[in-house]
Amino acid sequence: MDKMDLDGPVESSGETTDSELPAHYGDSLHDISAPKSSVNGIQVVVATERTDLPKYVLQFVLEGHRAGVTNVKFSADGRWIATSSADKTIKIWHADNGEYESTIEGHGRGINDIAWSPDSNVLASASDDKTVRIWNVMSGRVLRTLRGHTNYAYSVDFNPKGNLIASGSFDESIKIWDVKKGVCLRTLPAHSDPVSAVHFTRDGTMIVSCSHDGQIRLWDTSTGQCLKTLIEDSNSPVSCVRFSPNGKYLLSGSLDSAVRLWDYLKGRCVKTYQGHRNEKFICVPTFSITRGVWVVSGSEDGRIFFWDVQTKEVVQVLDGHKDVVLAVDAHPTKNLLVSAGLDGVVKIWIER
């Protein structure tokens, strides 16, 4: 409903400053991570010697949600931001200036996940009211209501052609829906614990899902059969998983405070990114590939961490949220990042 726009005086308001960043955060990180380093024995240091570090600064603050924001997504064409919240609404904002556009209402309970269609005209949302709804973004009207899950719907994703939707639910199954007819085509008996995330590959032939039972599974879209299973030894619940932009790797966040990169053909984890805290909530990690290849994730202490994909070093830490940062998303073409969390505030960060 309202937004505060702070692009000029961001630096002076004390949110983050790029000139001070490396040394300042390098020290404080040592302090804060001291208890963590005893948990998993890793020293977390912000890389200070490099010249190509990300330098994101706060650009806009978007307020209006009355409860925690569970997910935030840029549209495929990069013009809009959609945010879903526990206050049962979805809000649409302009990506370039943070201006509020509209609110979409209709779900009976809080919304867990949203997904844009490839043509950016249609939005799908998964909610605690056990339904997945498909909305026309411009008019805010509901086009289809997908009923079938017997418990909270946790996650939703469109396939790249826009004719299928996959949804994961607390009822331990994944359902594949026909968008046009609004019916369930297939139900996959996916896991033995709530399914926390689903994601399609860029050609739509496979779906990856993860669950609180610690497993990550790959499914064939056309037959619905399981193709592969990956498990981390600690069996800690996996809170989110997605494919890398080229579909060859998987990025997973799990509740042992680690974000992992998996090569699913080899069947093992090839990189682990640590330094943040994630033990209770679903903090969605993502890739930022517009300049430099980074892995970005929110943390339960209100900060946002950037890691270098190859070296696993923490390359930037953004502070600014007062509560758990639940979701981050990177713009498809520009150096923009949007973050949101339990404090109900959405922030857009820019790197010039």
């Binding site: 026309n136 026909d178 046009k180 007819k181 990956l230 890739f287 290849v293």
Partner: protein, 432 residues
């Protein structure tokens, strides 16, 4: 991308055996897959053209415009345009982006069939009932029709002999031929036309001259179709034989020197049946044909040896039009009585070893040998540190997109899903 993880045994299944789907929307008379094989166009007896989405087996587009039964369908290369010809003497080029009519061309007589140029969706060839085959070109917004000849190109020595008193006889023989089927070659350089007297005319699509004629059979040629690779072509004729030919080298060899010799003849020697329709398999190794009248069968022959490998039986009705999906082992066919579309595909069972990372499929029992350190108790920190050290320091490339061999990699038009239309409430029963 799922090819990398799929069972190699499943991928090696050569032809489909199980009836997996039945599609009912009106009475279908002809069907055609697009190049990628993810959409199937179906022409109905009332003139409607329906495009099915083969990922959901639902309807993607309903195109209304013809008033009589649809005769033939042809897709453009990118999958955005569809040409339909009908018994109402019209050909309509549809734009699948919104289902609108891009162009309508009227003819003076009934149409046997129309095919789009393989690279240019603004050129098509139509075989007409009472008229010469016509090449229609509507680039530059004008519809230009070029008439082609049905008369076969006579060889030089024959011409000299007949110049005398037999000149009249020769002309009369030529008059009686009409072209029943015409199709473009893979590159669009030539048009292969089949006549009612069994001649194959090869016409250059630029100069519109017949460059070569060959008498293949004595009866009507009903179908000419090329394999996906273009290396072979099939001719179905009324003498109940399907002939398989190797395509001559069209680019480098002069038409006069082309070798058009039969590789195999496929017949039903037992029942002496006519063949309703023929098709190639996606890799060109198999030939499909549907039988006439009571047999309700689809025969599959293997092209290298020419032997019959399988007979697929359709549930209740005679099969008219048969199509093999260009990229998968999947066959679609229309029935005559009800116009149902039957889909046969391969069904592979779930590989149970995929359900856990350490499951392996074995042929027989294997004695399990414990590792030395199987039951060692290692404190968590040390175990984690060891695991992290094991991680490669290799480069991971998360951005570059690599093509997987065996997958269709060309750009193919995706038909936009329109959700607003309330009239398109489709149910999977017949709609008459």
């Amino acid at each position: 991308m799922n090819l990398l993880l799929s069972d190699p045994f499943a991928l090696s299944q050569e032809y489909p055996e199980n009836l997996t789907h039945t599609l009912n929307y009106g009475h279908s008379t002809c069907i055609k897959f697009n190049r990628k094989g993810d959409y199937l166009a179906s022409g109905l007896i009332d003139g409607t053209v329906v495009v099915f989405d083969f990922e959901t087996y639902g309807i993607a587009r309903v195109l209304r415009g013809h008033t009589r039964s649809v005769q033939s369908l042809s897709w453009s290369r990118d999958g955005r345009y569809l040409l339909s010809s009908s018994r109402d003497w019209k050909c309509i080029l549809w734009d699948l982006k919104d289902g609108s009519r891009e162009k309508t061309v009227r003819f003076e007589s009934a149409i046997w069939g129309a095919e789009l140029h393989p690279f240019n969706h603004q050129i098509f060839i139509a075989a007409l009932l009472d008229d010469s085959p016509t090449l229609v070109d509507f680039s530059d917004n004008t519809i230009r029709k070029h008439l082609l000849f049905s008369a076969p190109l006579q060889k030089d020595d024959e011409e000299e002999e007949d110049e005398g008193e037999d000149g009249d006889v020769r002309e009369r023989k030529q008059d009686k031929q009409s072209t029943l089927v015409a199709t473009f070659t893979q590159s669009g350089q030539y048009i292969f036309a089949g006549t009612s007297k069994g001649w194959l005319n090869v016409i250059d699509s630029e100069t519109l001259q017949t460059v070569r004629s060959e008498k293949l059979t004595t009866s009507n040629i009903k179908h000419i179709c090329f394999s996906v690779s273009g290396k072979q072509f099939l001719v179905n004729s009324s003498d109940r034989t399907i002939r398989l030919y190797n395509t001559p080298d069209l680019t480098y060899v002069d038409p006069v020197d082309w070798d058009i010799d039969v590789v195999h003849r496929f017949q039903d020697v037992v029942n002496r049946l006519q063949w309703n329709s023929v098709a190639f398999s996606s890799n060109g190794d198999y030939v499909l044909a549907s039988t006439y009248q009571d047999a309700h069968d689809i025969y599959i022959w293997e092209t290298t040896v020419g032997s019959l490998v399988k007979i697929i039986e359709a549930p209740r009705e005679e099969i008219v039009d048969v199509q093999w999906d260009p990229n998968r082992t999947l066959v679609a066919a229309t029935g005559l009585d009800h116009g149902t579309i039957y889909v046969w595909a391969t069904v592979t069972p779930q590989r149970w070893s995929a359900l856990a990372p350490d499951f392996v499929e074995v042929e027989e029992n294997v004695e399990y040998e414990e590792r030395e350190d199987e039951f060692d108790i290692i404190p968590d920190e040390v175990a984690n540190k060891r695991k992290l050290d094991q991680e490669d320091d290799d480069e991971v490339d998360v951005v570059t997109i690599e093509r997987v061999r065996g997958e269709f990699s060309e750009e193919s038009f995706v038909i936009p899903v329109i959700l607003e239309e309330d009239e398109e409430t489709f149910d999977s029963s017949d709609s008459d």
